[in-house]
């Protein structure tokens, strides 16, 4: 057990932070600050346990024997022939498919009912990569981590593959018979006893289907439930306006922003757009000299809080009082609730902020987090009104939800009805309520009282287990559908591939319970939109009659020839079956594509021409959304009596040893639906860098109070964290790990949902603890009354990358305030030149990179919000394997780009956190190259530091000599070469690496080569912006810029001339091609002076 002196000494730590001179006072972790003997040892070992210990089950001797044998066999096997390969051409070549050329199709992923528009890359019919759809208003060409990783779900071999009745395999017709019986009995009673439970419905087609069912059977009911639903936002709008609204924010118009625990930069509807707009107002270049200013009050540190100019950690019980104080100061009538508890000790902070906000009337935003109470939402609406923001920076539209409602209440009603025996048939479309319903409702137990239970889901999960019928769901890349963007834009979901495991979509299952049985998802969708788009002669619309049965293969399957390529170079059609070049003609659900010439494509959008449905429909499918369907802004007035409704609702402040508890969705596995996604599981969570697990988040002081610790273990690699029992409302989480998080307010414990899955699949089963087991319906997000006790035990399986690949406390992060930056002259701020030794200090001959392109990258640390999308995009683009928690613990994670987090200031209340994405720097004087004994890493003429996998013998000297620690070694056979579906997923343009070779960021060389070849064929130079790396493409804030640094007009060359440009560890004379732009913040002098 760890000895006392190794524990973090907080008093000593504070002194160290204050006394630090190096690195501008930035630190990565509490352990680093504590700077114990163990920590130093940990850092000095590059790979903590690998080098010096052999703790695999196989003994060293056995290993050597095996190695000897395999070496001999390897020599022999080298003489064998490569097995002959087959070439399988099409029988009928589809016109638009050119072997070797990828096609892009517009589609969309929805999360919580909100779409992210996507362009899915298809290599010979296999979707391989997802990019944002630049024209989609909720994407603007970028995606979040969930959309990036969702392609792994498509190919997940753990997905449910067969229709089951009580664990027995049954045919679809068997289900239809059963459903028909239930339906007949329900019809006889006008639908009484028939219930549908869905996640948030925004899909226009699904809504129309449901409405048709409810028209036929008025007694049937819909319930919606999502554990991370936006019920509070809905209730807040009802409180303030008496009607449901959708709130949109115009961050491009806002100078001052006050976020009330809203993580609008990295999650939630519209976050991609908000992050882009927000950061565009913080770029101090191109003649722009001012920045917006962000004030954040929040509980647990989020990415938004980390980027704030001023952040105040508040306990949930203090939140409403603080907001009321701010609202009062802004002149909002507070009515019955009054000032509440007031802003307490932070009154001065609130006053300063209020003055600042008032100076930006009509150009400010107050944005409440979805998890905040309805009262806070109502107060935020009132404050925005008082500041004159409504109609300028804050817009209201009708809700995007088809059936806006309080989802917790909806589920509560369903449970009550189930208990009362009023539910005979329950159809659950997606979702996993048995796992994620509030614990106090006892959903699972009530569910068993329903006579017929049907569950449609991607996985055979906890809910499927309790249902009679489990129907495998088709992934969104396998089925037709529609949804809405954050602004209401109707978005078409187009399949890229026929269902791998024969799944069905929600539309198809719902059709079974309507009068349109057995219609394909495509027909249902097209029929709905033909009705919507028919404003003139909708000649292309198929006649639609109720009860039409189309069991034969649908017509669109036979019309691939009708499709053509498009203006943008990515044409849209349906899916060929998986088999690469195989000519499987089942182009299930093939659709569409645009007209041959750009002109017709554009003109069909105009309503002036007689609306030809076929053209409009093809354009909508091609573009991925229906034009001009964003919901119009509407005027809503505050209810006259709203203030009287807002009695204080905050939980009472904690008494004695009580703690406040906060529930949040996990930044990686969300509400648990992504639990079986290895990319997301292994993604280091922003700020904590925990992978594969969740933990109780406590502030350093609170943890100290209970004697809970995070330690570096004796082995020099283990991170040992205390285990604690958490009791809340009579329910207990036993012996769960504790993580000490800087910036967490004292007396608050935060738990993340989505872990502790029992039936997620091989990846997600049994990881972490299930926080839903203590979550209750009355306080889904925060409450008082949690108790923690120290078990005295330690958890040694926590895999966190926080300490991995440290750059030994050198000056890594550079940050200035805007005022300082503008004050200083150009010369004083050429930080890159400060320490940089000249080329003459190198032993190696100089190479002239001027004759070719010189690829380079800049990463703007001002703009980076630490969302991790680049990490997953890189993983998807470059066939990077998942290694598993055991290997992550040994610092063997394979991500080519990592996002380092640096805190600044006091460990309890860090004043800032900076994010720093670190890919390979492609040094011109690369330290990795001279140490390689086999020339496996060398330079090419354009300055890329290339890795030759075939030459690599695995000495790892290069990694040892890399000051940035960006090289990754395949210690074991991490790549899954055998699972057939994963073979379909891989990017065919990138070598798949096996055991024993080093790999690292290539600057997406496959994309460079494609652009180079295309430009050379056309006899022109590569244009700026023609090569876009995967990380750059996905970055919501455009923090990453890549291009030819020799082209003085290129964006990257311009940025490299910026005063903010600096090379990481440039004093080592590595001449990195990747450079950073220092971080700028715009603090309010009245606050920063005082703090």
């Amino acid at each position: 057990m760890p000895s006392q002196d190794r524990h973090i000494n907080f008093a000593l730590m504070r002194d160290r932070i204050l006394g630090r001179e190096k690195g501008n006072g930035y630190w990565r972790s509490l352990e680093e600050v504590a700077d114990t003997e163990e920590f130093r040892e940990f850092v000095s070992r590059e790979f903590p346990q690998a080098a010096e210990e052999w703790d695999d089950p196989i003994e060293r001797r056995t290993f050597l024997k095996l190695m000897g044998a395999s070496l001999a066999l390897a020599g022999l096997s080298g003489c064998s022939y490569q097995p002959p390969e087959k070439i399988v051409p099409y029988v009928r070549q589809p016109e638009e498919i050119v072997p070797g050329k990828a096609l892009f199709y517009a589609t969309a992923m929805q999360l919580g009912g909100v779409a992210t528009g996507l362009l899915a890359k298809s290599n010979e019919g296999r979707p391989t990569k997802l990019e944002g759809n630049p024209e989609h208003p909720s994407s603007l060409g970028t995606t979040d981590v969930f959309a990036q990783a969702s392609i792994l779900d498509l190919y997940d071999p753990d997905r449910s593959q067969t229709l089951l009745f009580r664990e027995e395999i049954r045919p679809w017709s068997g289900f239809l018979d059963d459903a028909k019986k239930a339906l007949d009995s329900a019809r006889a009673r006008q639908g009484a006893g028939l219930r549908f439970l869905t996640e948030t419905v925004t899909s226009p087609t699904l809504a129309a289907q449901l409405k048709a069912i409810f028209t036929e059977m008025p007694q049937a009911r819909l319930h919606q439930y999502e554990p991370a639903g936006r019920g509070n936002a809905h209730a807040g709008a009802m409180l303030a306006f008496g009607q449901a609204v959708n709130t949109l924010y115009r961050f491009d118009q806002a100078d001052r922003i006050f976020s009330i625990d809203s993580d609008f930069l990295s999650c939630g509807p519209g976050s991609l757009v908000y992050a882009r707009d927000f950061m565009n107002r913080r770029r101090v270049e191109d003649g722009q000299h001012d920045m917006n200013r962000l004030y954040v009050v929040e509980t647990t540190l989020t990415n938004t809080g980390a980027k704030a100019d001023h952040r105040l950690p508040l306990r949930p019980s203090e939140m409403e009082g603080f907001v009321r104080a701010v609202a009062g100061a802004l002149g909002v009538q507070l009515g019955a609730g009054g000032q509440g508890s007031g802003a307490g000790p932070y009154g001065w902070w609130a006053q300063v902020m209020v003055r600042d906000l008032q100076q930006s009337r009509g150009r400010s935003i107050i944005i409440p987090g979805d998890e905040q109470s309805p009262v806070i939402h109502a107060l935020a609406h009132a404050m925005n009104a008082a500041l004159g923001n409504v109609g300028k920076t804050v817009l209201y539209t009708d809700p995007i939800e088809a059936f806006p409602e309080d989802q917790t209440q909806s589920l509560r009603t369903l449970v009550a009805d189930m208990n009362a025996g009023q539910v005979e048939t329950l159809v659950i479309l997606g979702g996993n309520p048995v796992y994620n319903a509030p614990a106090d409702l006892g959903f699972g137990k009530s569910l068993e009282k329903v006579a017929l239970r049907v569950h449609l889901s991607l996985y055979k999960d906890e809910t499927s287990e309790l249902c009679h019928w489990h129907i495998p769901e088709a992934h969104y890349l396998e089925s037709w559908g529609d949804t809405r963007g954050h602004d209401g834009t109707a978005t078409i979901i187009q399949p890229l591939i026929a269902p791998l495991y024969g799944g069905r979509s929600a539309h198809e299952l719902l059709a079974v319970f309507s009068t349109q049985q057995n219609r394909s998802g495509y027909d249902l969708l097209r029929d709905y939109w033909s009705g919507q788009m028919k404003s003139g002669g909708a000649s292309g619309a198929r006649a639609q009659s109720a009860g039409q049965q189309s069991t034969a293969p649908t017509a669109q399957g036979a019309t691939p020839g009708a499709t053509t390529a498009t203006t943008a170079g990515h044409s849209a059609t349906g899916a060929t079956e998986s088999g690469g070049q195989s000519s499987n003609t089942s182009t299930t659900g093939a659709a569409t594509a645009p007209e041959t010439t750009p002109t017709t494509g554009a003109s069909t959008a105009s309503a002036a021409a007689p609306a030809d449905f076929e053209k409009l429909w093809r354009k909508a499918v091609h573009d991925g959304f229906v034009p001009n369907t964003a919901l119009p802004a509407k005027t809503v007035a505050l209810r006259t009596d709203w203030a009287n409704q807002t009695a204080p609702t905050a939980a009472p402040p904690p008494q004695g040893d009580e703690l406040e508890i906060v529930f949040r969705t996990d930044p990686c596995v969300y509400d648990g639906r992504f639990a079986n996604n290895g990319w997301l599981q292994e993604l280091p969570k922003p700020l904590t860098k925990i992978t594969w697990d969740n933990a109780l988040m406590l502030s350093p002081t609170t943890a100290n109070r209970f004697g809970l610790k995070n330690d570096i273990g004796v082995k020099g690699g283990d991170v040992l964290v205390s285990r604690a029992n958490l009791t809340y409302q009579g329910r207990t989480l036993s012996a769960v790990p504790v993580w000490i998080l800087p910036g967490q307010p004292d007396g608050v414990v935060t738990v993340h949902l989505g872990y502790g899955r029992r039936l997620a699949g091989r990846v997600g089963n049994g990881r972490g603890f299930n926080a839903y087991s203590i979550r209750t319906s009355d306080a889904p997000w925060a409450n008082t009354g949690a108790h923690i006790s120290n078990t005295g035990q330690y958890y040694d399986a926590l895999a966190t990358t926080q300490l991995h690949f440290g750059m030994e406390n050198r000056e890594v992060v550079r940050a200035h305030t805007l005022a300082d930056y503008l004050k200083e002259s150009g010369e004083a701020h050429a930080p890159d030149e400060e320490h940089k030794p000249g080329q003459e200090h190198s032993f190696y001959p100089e190479y002239d990179y001027k004759q070719d392109a010189a690829w380079g990258m800049t990463i703007d640390t001002t703009s980076c919000v630490g969302c991790n999308a680049c990490v997953v995009a890189c993983q998807s683009e470059n066939n990077i394997p998942v290694v598993g928690p055991e290997q992550v613990k040994r610092s063997r994670e394979m991500h080519w780009i990592r996002v380092d987090t640096y805190f600044k200031g006091d460990h309890d209340h860090p004043e800032a956190a900076e994010f720093m994405p670190v890919p390979c720097m492609h040094c011109e004087n690369a330290p990795c190259e001279p140490v390689c004994p086999v020339h496996a890493t060398v330079h090419d003429t354009e300055g890329l530091n290339v890795m030759v996998y075939n030459r690599c013998v695995g000495t790892r000297y290069c990694s040892n000599n890399c000051p940035y620690k960006v090289r990754r070694f395949n210690f074991l056979l991490y790549q899954d070469f055998n699972t057939p579906t994963y073979q379909l997923m891989r990017n065919p343009e990138v070598s798949v690496r096996s055991r024993g070779v080093m790999e690292k960021c290539t600057y997406c060389i496959q994309r460079i080569q494609v652009a180079k070849i295309e430009s050379e064929k056309e006899g022109r130079p590569i244009g700026d912006g023609e090569v876009v790396t995967a990380c750059q493409a996905v970055c919501p804030t455009q923090a990453i810029v890549f291009g030819n640094a020799n082209d003085q007009k290129s964006r990257v060359a311009q940025l490299k001339r910026s005063r903010r440009n600096y090379g990481l560890l440039a004093d080592l004379n590595t001449q990195p091609r990747t450079t950073y732009l220092s971080s700028l913040r715009n603090p309010n002098p009245e606050i920063s002076g005082k703090a």
């Binding site: 022939y81 490569q82 002959p84 390969e85 087959k86 070439i87 399988v88 051409p89 099409y90 029988v91 009928r92 070549q93 050119v98 072997p99 070797g100 050329k101 070049q581 195989s582 000519s583 003609t585 070719d852 060398v938 090419d940 003429t941 354009e942 890329l944 290339v946 030759v948 996998y949 075939n950 343009e989 990138v990 070598s991 290539t1002 060389i1005 496959q1006 080569q1009 070849i1013 050379e1016 064929k1017 006899g1019």
Partner: protein, 222 residues
């Protein structure tokens, strides 16, 4: 006391030392030659195909252009293989009853593709792109040989990296005018001084990169 070793032992010692060196060098040489041999590379070996398709007949006798079947050779990394439909364009009319073409008709009837045996099989870590070679003036026959004289297709080159590098180091030796790319009869290599001079001019005109860029690892490997 007599000598333990006879005087000739010195010779034996020298012989075994030099012999060892010789054997070592010889062994390396033999291995290298085995590696280069067609036994290893598969060069010159005709592959049996499901249909006895003759390039000699179609390309040589009938004069059908390469691009009629290999449609994407100028635009894509892959030259493209003809679909069954391409065969049937002609063979629904001529030789429509030939027993040799039964597999083609079977494929056309059943919708099941013909599975050809790959002749030119580069390792997966080499990313060869047909279109850029064709556009820069590398002829089909430079790599694939006199296809119009091959009744059954075989691999005319070793496809080893040293063979690739011959041209990547000195493209002027192999490059030809773009108009002659699909000409099977064009000379295999520029040998005379005049031909080399013409090659150099083509290298400049077609903006073919210098040998340093062409031999960068990243040109072919990713």
């Amino acid at each position: 006391m007599p000598q333990i070793f006879h005087h000739s032992t010195n010779f034996l010692a020298r012989l075994s030392i030099f012999g060892a060196v010789f054997i070592l060098v010889a062994a390396v040489w033999v291995l290298a030659e085995i590696n280069r041999s067609s036994w290893n590379t598969g060069q010159w070996t005709e592959r049996q195909q499901p249909v006895q398709f003759s390039h000699k007949h179609h390309s040589g006798d009938d004069g059908i252009d390469c691009r009629y079947c290999h449609t994407s050779v100028e635009t894509s990394s892959s030259a493209g293989m003809p679909s069954t439909q391409t065969c049937m364009n002609c063979h629904s009319q001529i030789w429509a009853d030939s027993p040799y073409l039964e597999p083609v008709r079977e494929s056309w009837r059943s919708g099941k593709p013909i599975e050809w045996t790959r002749v030119h099989d580069l390792p997966d870590y080499s990313y060869f792109n047909h279109s850029i070679h064709v556009n820069k003036g590398v002829g089909c026959s430079t790599c694939h040989g006199q296809v119009d004289e091959m009744p059954l297709m075989y691999q005319a080159s070793s496809l080893q990296m040293e063979w690739c590098l011959e041209c990547h180091r000195e493209p002027e030796r192999f490059v030809r005018p773009r108009s002659e790319v699909f000409n099977m009869a064009w000379r295999k290599e520029n040998k005379t001084a005049a031909q080399i001079a013409e090659g150099k001019k083509l290298v400049a005109d077609n903006h073919i990169r210098g040998p340093l860029a062409l031999t960068s690892c990243s040109t072919c490997h990713r």
